[in-house]
């Protein structure tokens, strides 16, 4: 499953323009001290709102089944135990590997497709290009549950074996609208027409212009798109549970869902599992969060 063309992305990374400093002390002074305190308090209220669910997940994951009870949700565990974590790990660790095998190629291919589409649809608008873009975008709204049965038939007819391959194809296809949207908007708003005209004057063909002018300036959009695709593919459950029938290939969301029985649900295991399943996407955000913001600021996803 080696992915094609990853090098451009990484090579183009340093092209991110340094941003103006985010903190501007002299502007800070403009508000009075009272206003500043109110602001900080509000910021922390939001922090609490966002962290409460995590606190609950953590607390419960260290409890035993008998202690895990909604009415005692906020109490510290009387007996701290790692049992739930051990159990969750034993059920999920195999699936984590599958998720990586799924997410990496699907993210790369759908991002590259998005970049090519975005380039053409913003800069080489062949007759009908706007219609094509609109049709792509509309594809984002298709209710996936409604297509699971024909999708299964389709894959079967084409002869794609049930497994990660089906899932990768599905995520590439249904990722195209979003990745195209991001790249098209990015290219439309950030790359000056003169640059492209200049390249054309020099007799550069379309592909050459792409490689020499567009790609080097694309890093911010690549980062935004890749992060978006990575998290949404990683977190998808619906396609995964329908398209992958071989338990050895199940990604982590299916394994997480399976920590619940149809009858007895071990809450601590489920909650520990929810945390484990979220770690890779969290790491992506922590490592690349800065670039994500910069990419957005550089114009990706501007309407």
């Amino acid at each position: 499953m080696t992915a094609p063309m990853p090098t451009e992305t990484t090579a183009a990374m340093p092209a991110i323009e340094p941003l103006p400093p985010l903190t501007d002390d002299h502007q800070l002074q403009r508000r009075g001290p009272v206003g500043h305190v109110v602001k900080i308090v509000l910021l922390f209220v939001f922090v609490i709102f966002f962290l409460l669910p995590v606190i609950l997940l953590l607390l419960t994951s260290f409890k035993s089944l008998a202690e895990a009870d909604p009415s005692r949700a906020w109490q510290l565990p009387k007996h701290w135990t790692l049992d739930a974590w051990r159990e969750a790990w034993s059920q999920l660790h195999g699936a984590l590997g599958n998720s990586f095998k799924l997410v990496i190629p699907a993210t790369i291919i759908s991002t590259v497709l998005g970049s090519l589409n975005g380039y053409v649809l913003s800069r080489w608008r062949f007759p009908g290009a706007d219609l094509v873009f609109t049709m792509f975008l509309f594809g984002m709204f298709i209710p996936y549950q409604a297509v699971m049965i024909p999708l299964g038939l389709l894959f079967k007819d084409v002869g794609v074996d049930p497994g990660l391959g089906r899932l990768i194809i599905a995520h590439i296809v249904y990722g195209i609208p979003m990745t195209t949207l991001i790249f098209r908007n990015y290219y439309a708003t950030t790359i000056p027409n003169e640059l492209i005209e200049a390249a054309r004057m020099d007799g550069a063909g379309m592909m050459h212009t792409y490689a020499s002018v567009i790609l080097p300036a694309s890093a911010p959009a690549f980062v935004v798109t890749a992060i978006w695709q990575f998290t949404s593919i990683w977190n998808d459950f619906l396609f995964a549970v329908f398209l992958v029938t071989n338990p050895d290939s199940w990604p982590v969301t299916v394994a997480l869902n399976n920590t619940a029985g149809s009858q007895v649900t071990p809450f601590p295991v489920q909650m520990a599992g929810a945390l484990i399943a979220s770690i890779p996407t969290l790491v992506v955000y922590i490592l690349l969060g800065r670039y994500f913001m910069r990419g957005l600021m550089a114009g990706a996803l501007k309407g």
Binding site: M148, I169, S249, T259
Partner: protein, 459 residues
């Protein structure tokens, strides 16, 4: 392959085969077109997920007889992924592995509340003619959906060969027989009409005798209410349907209950109105947050001493055991008032899917499911009683022993919430009606909707 190709398409879709073909052509084109972008790598790479399945055409075992198992794999689909049910399945897998070490057991279990995700996944796989070798279904009407759709194979010859007619109760065999044909092997029996109680809370409320009738029950609930505890712990909507079914059986009796599910069933009768009114009364005694609880949360309120009663299937016993509670001390049980002598039953059974890739292994698996060894390995861990009459009672816990005793003499009433009396489609309409009833508590409108559902689906 071409024979099964014709089978796969829904006979009601005359044009589907043609479009499927043209679709195939189009998509082949699509994939070729995308070839520049390395899709073929993926197609190639995903082949290795499945190498075993294509190589195992089992020779000459489809006709009957268990014969030698030559398949290298057996895929079994169920919704047993957690707790005692998964442990029970594991116990059977262990036997499988010792008996057929060369055939890999692929446990394709998918979780989902009362099997809902699992059933969806299964539906999609059957539709795409990509069935697992054997799948789980609730015996009764739910299974009949698969039978009508021609998705499972008849098993009569194996029943004869293995002598199952004598070891399963004849009542049960009747329930799983359609037009003289049997399509599944039941592994267990659950009871739905169990009233779980907390002996301490009940005694503190001044209740001295187990309520025998529905009116007794209301009187007991009043006493608990006066004592300041939750009288009846309830949970999300499917448990409400579960409660409704036991109330209806209590008020109408097992025979009238069974009649409701036939073509002549009279849902407009005053008796049904009365039963539904009784059901409505219970909402004066339940916890107000019921909709947000799982059945476990509700059952736990009973053993934790917050609530007096809970109506739930006997899988609750397995949960209480996991919570390390002592039967008859920390919790007690009785039939739902008014249903003594009735066994509101449901049964998990396994099938042989039409078009399964490993028929020889499937037959061996069904034989294991039907065997005393298999059932006695599975059921004590799962927390259900075996479908066979000759089980080794010493292997079962206190509750299960009492249930096995009751089962021998009880009148059977099929469960609604667990797929015995009504098909999935009928159940879906009942769910819709019940959802609206929970908002407006309008008995007349509810009864009307139930009547419509009956007229739509009863045959």
């Amino acid at each position: 392959m071409s024979a099964s190709n014709a089978q796969r398409f829904d006979p009601g879709f005359p044009s589907s085969q043609r479009t499927a073909l043209s679709r195939r052509v189009v998509l082949k084109g699509a994939l070729v077109g995308a070839g520049v972008l390395a899709l073929p790598q993926i197609l190639g790479a995903c082949g290795d997920d499945d190498e075993a399945t294509t190589t195992t055409a089992a020779p000459g075992t489809t006709g009957g007889g268990t014969g030698e198992v030559t398949s290298t794999e057996l895929e079994v689909f169920s919704w047993w992924t957690g707790g005692g049910e998964a442990a029970g399945l594991d116990a059977m897998i262990a036997i499988w592995n010792s008996q057929y070490p060369n055939t890999k057991f692929v446990n394709a279990a998918v979780a989902g509340g009362a099997g809902s995700n699992a059933k969806a996944v299964l539906a999609q796989r059957l539709e795409a003619n990509d069935p697992p070798d054997s799948f789980q279904g609730h015996a009764g009407a739910e299974l009949s959906d698969y039978i009508k759709a021609g998705q499972v194979e008849e098993l009569n010859s194996y029943y004869e060969e293995w002598g199952l007619g004598d070891v399963f109760p004849s009542d049960l065999v009747d329930q799983i027989t359609v037009d003289g044909k049997i399509y599944s092997v039941p592994v267990n029996i659950h009871r739905a009409n169990v009233l779980w109680s907390n002996p301490t809370v009940v005694a503190d409320a001044g209740i001295t005798a187990t309520p025998e009738s529905f009116d007794d029950f209301i009187a007991a609930l009043d006493k608990v209410k006066a004592a300041g505890k939750t009288p009846l712990a309830l949970a999300e909507q499917w448990t409400v349907k579960h409660l409704m079914e036991t109330v209806m059986i209590s008020k109408l009796g097992a025979e009238a209950w069974a009649g409701l599910w036939t073509a002549d069933g009279d849902w407009s009768s005053a008796d049904v109105t009365d039963a539904l009114e009784g059901f409505k009364t219970l909402f004066g005694y339940v916890n107000s947050d019921y909709a947000s609880l799982t059945w476990q949360d509700a059952a736990k309120r009973v053993v934790d001493g917050e609530a007096a009663y809970n109506v739930m299937g006997d899988w609750a016993d397995g949960y209480f055991t996991e919570l390390e509670k002592t039967p008859r001390t920390d919790y007690d049980w009785a039939p739902v008032p008014g249903t003594a002598g009735v066994y509101d039953w449901l049964s998990d059974s396994f099938t042989k899917a039409k078009g399964g890739k490993h028929p020889d292994a499937t037959v061996a698996w069904l034989k294991l499911c039907s065997s005393k060894e298999g059932q006695d390995a599975f059921n004590p861990v799962k927390g259900s009683i075996p479908a066979r009459k000759d089980a080794d009672t010493s292997k079962y816990g206190v509750y299960l022993q009492s249930a096995m005793e009751d089962w021998k003499t009880a009148t059977l009433a099929g469960s609604l919430a667990h797929g015995v009396v009504a098909s999935n489609a009928w159940n879906t309409d009942i769910d819709g009606a019940l959802g609206l009833f929970l908002e407006d508590k309008d008995v007349a409108a509810f009864q009307d909707a139930l009547l419509t559902a009956h007229d739509t689906y009863a045959v």
